[in-house]
Symmetry: D2
Subunit: 258 residues, 4 copies
């Protein structure tokens, strides 16, 4: 396809029904627009600011739901891993292993992910330049795996804000890998006094449009039927009902640049 | 017109022939694409890093060339001013007075520009948030002038780099003024050891596409037939021959978002 | 003297009585500790965020008060200028001309200040590296004036914060000029939604101690008998009653590093 | 002791002889100045930029050397861990477990370290505010361990530089834990094109003096007899011969602030 692809789903897997319902709705949209779709859901949240934040419904339970979503709709799925021993476990359930941004320099984790043979999606650290992601790509490739995606989720800008540097997209594409814009986490407002990361979801469309215009290969969006009720990261998830309108705009921009 | 507008020209006015030649070529393009065009040229460079940098061919001579360009092609012109006494002088020769980014907080300068009755284009300081530009708008309006343009030219990001924050475009548009993306200066690499600001001109297209995709009202581009021969800011000027190709792409994106 | 020197006084000149009273109290302290003292007061505030912020009591009135303070106590005085025509006027009343940080790249302003023959104190722009201040030094020197002071007042760090980079002190001292730490403005919290810059005055001691420990030649502190009642920048001024305690600590650190 | 404490040693454990030799030399200094000393050495380097960077001499071998150093000189030792399963292993050999800055948000790792009962030294992420380290402290405490140290190693400042924010020291001390300044890693110049992090070792003294002046409880310094020959991080290590001169200066500043 000459279209961009979509990685989307809830922040965390909260239950099977919800996961299936979200996937079904997104597939209606991606089928309509002929967009390749990868279902995204975290089976565990390992780096919450606070110890009392929601961290998941149980690893095995969540992973089985991810597999169920994949099998039910015949779509690939992605989840994030945090320590190297998780790689082979998660690889039994999903198609893409995602390395969180804070962990993109952890060599053992990258190698463990690479050695599963699954696609490895490495998020660019908020503290790393696009140029430096070359070394993350090399670590995966030198472990014998050429299936790499790089995802941008913004850069540290003062203590309580992130800025997306759109120069990073062509820069990372120069490594001959697909580059995704994470339109959810790049809008985070970290280091809030409450220990709960804030956000500016009304700007998702701004980030997504700019990314597609400069040639991003994929878009990452966390979405939920009722973001305010979500168990993690509600501050930045897109309300599911708004997804089709956004995708429609992005597809038009994509057509304009091809 | 439902199209974006273009502010373009050489960094500094180097001579009449060159100014007329650049304007003529740009008008061929903007006429073809039905884009409103404002000719840009600095009559004096007041904030070079080094005292031995080129600072102009003489104020009156340069201002007369700006007027000549405007009259010859019946187009509006813009130049930047640096101290309040320059406002009324420059206003006799051009249609838009531009306030440089470093000076966007100088109240007297904003008031002097406002009181000429000309359009005032205020560049957002590299150290200012988009939200804070509200106060620059207020200073001009409270001086009795409602013709205001705001221009983004990037944000300080470490000592030697700038990042464009595309969230600033909708934020500044919320003040009900047109917002322009300066695709030239936002790619500067300041604080270079030589005292000559560097650049990454190959990324002009990236910045411009993203800006148009998120709805910028105008694009600012410095262009020169031979950037390497220009007397100032050669590092970031777009080669004039490349302008039409860029405009063509931007017009297509603009159509996709309307 | 082998001690550091002090530039201190109110943010803006609010009246003669207050200026004399503040100077008298500070001189008691600097005499006790054998610290060279320069009285500081702005005769005009030219770059407030908002047009309705306090901008001064009248230029001539304020300048005369500065002269009165200097003559009464036989101490040097400093004030800041904003456009080149102010240089020769202010030079009739004060001993040191200060170039505000936003304006440190304005060549004409630096030259005008240099040509008065007065000491020129250039504040490092929040967007400039210490290395780049070399060019400000050169502009003054090449105008025939070797009496230069450089002052650090922090670096842009996100939209709403500044960070002091203490590496800048030895870096700027390598240009063979005295380097001052501005302990007041480096604690500003810019870009607040109200248009009134915030601050963290409880950290003045932290910034001042670190500066003296790394060898700063001087300390700049805005102080007021009642900061909460001050007409500008109250958020960061040190309460005058606290100055002696601070100076005592700094003098002890200074002794430890000699 | 009313003195500050020192965490120092080579970046990575390269061999037993070298480790013992470095420890012996440092103890001569810390004994002379009555400074509590913790020997530092990494048993594995897990987050090198490049896969071909030196990552260690073997985990068990290096851990045994750490134990040997501790037993030989009767001093505490510290090493860093990267995944939760390493906590209980490392705890058999050292007294303090260190959490690398990139990993300071990994809840499982913090809990695993806390549950060993050893002292836990958490480095502040380059992307985290001092205020947010409150949540790291809480994660350790809520796991039943009150022995916590926080270490500052600078903040992301553009892609290729770090800045130390000395306000962070009193801020983190407000959590009632000792706060250490890492004078080595805070001088890193990340994201270099070579994939090898650069540095500015001549500024170690600047960072250390400022830290002691503002009241830091401890100083972290990597040191090596011949930094240029070190197998990792040579760019920022202090030459061992220079340590005593530095400590002497810091002790004098410490005395001045008590």
């Amino acid at each position: 396809s000459s279209n961009f692809f979509l990685m989307a789903g809830p922040c965390a897997i909260e239950g099977e029904d919800m996961a299936l319902r979200i996937a079904e709705r997104i597939i209606q949209i991606t089928d309509k627009y002929n967009i390749p779709y990868i279902f995204k859901g975290s089976y565990r949240k390992a780096n919450r600011s606070r110890i009392d934040s929601f961290s998941g419904i149980g690893d095995e339970k969540a992973l089985k739901i991810l597999r169920k979503v994949g099998e039910t709709f015949n779509i690939p799925t992605v989840t994030d891993i945090h320590e190297s021993h998780e790689a082979s476990i998660a690889a039994e359930f999903v198609d893409v292993l995602q390395i969180p941004a804070f962990l993109c320099r952890q060599t053992n984790l990258l190698i463990a992910a690479a050695e599963t043979g699954k696609v490895v999606n490495v998020k660019k650290g908020q503290f790393l330049s696009a140029e430096s992601m070359r070394f993350a790509v090399d670590k995966v490739k030198e472990s014998g795996n050429d299936q790499i995606i790089l995802t941008d989720r913004g850069n540290t800008f003062g203590y309580q804000d992130l800025i997306v540097d759109f120069r990073s997209i062509p820069q990372m594409q120069s490594f001959n890998v697909p580059v995704v814009m994470d339109c959810t986490h790049s809008l985070q407002q970290p280091n809030q006094a409450t220990g709960v990361t804030g956000g500016k979801p009304q700007l998702i469309e701004t980030i997504a449009k700019a990314a597609i215009a400069v040639g991003a290969d994929g878009i990452f969006i966390e979405t939920h039927p009722e973001p305010a009720m979500a168990k993690s990261d509600g501050a930045n998830m897109l309300q599911l009902d708004l997804l089709e309108g956004l995708i429609d705009k992005l597809v038009r921009i994509r057509s304009a640049i091809l």
